[in-house]
């Protein structure tokens, strides 16, 4: 299975409950293999996924549904 990974910068997360919510939302997505969300040095998430099933645009939408702003880290 071909796999890609992307790093997203997330604004608005300040506690472990926030990171937990984002981690759960991403993990539940079809095609997501692994997720790691961190607060420091800045709010961000590393997502490993199957590009045939999903992609960064879906991640950004799910994170915004969770109430945070996200963009792809250049």
């Amino acid at each position: 299975v071909e796999e890609s990974s992307v790093r997203l910068l997330i604004e608005g997360m300040t506690c472990s409950a926030c990171t937990g919510a984002v981690e759960r939302a991403l993990t539940e997505m079809n095609g997501v293999e692994a997720v790691s969300v961190s607060l420091l040095p800045e709010g961000s998430a590393e997502v490993r996924f199957n590009p045939d099933l999903t992609g960064p645009r879906d991640f950004i939408e799910v994170i915004e549904d969770a109430g945070f702003d996200a963009r792809i880290s250049s």
């Binding site: 608005g12 997360m13 300040t14 506690c15 409950a17 926030c18 937990g20 919510a21 984002v22 759960r24 939302a25 915004e64 549904d65 969770a66 109430g67 945070f68 702003d69």
Partner: protein, 69 residues
Amino acid sequence: MTNTVILKVAMMCTGCSGAVERVLSKMEGVQSFDVNLETQKVTVVGTVTHEEVVTKIAKTGKAVEPWSD
């Protein structure tokens, strides 16, 4: 038909209440809302149903219950 929906939402910190506020500010039909971190009370006024608000806030991953006082 304008409704007032009142819910109890498990919010731990300002990041969590900020997330609920951001989601509600983008929600269609919402005229005004109040998110109170201390009391965990979220009040939404607008042409939205109870279920719509519960579904929207549940997407933030926070526990949502009807407000019972």
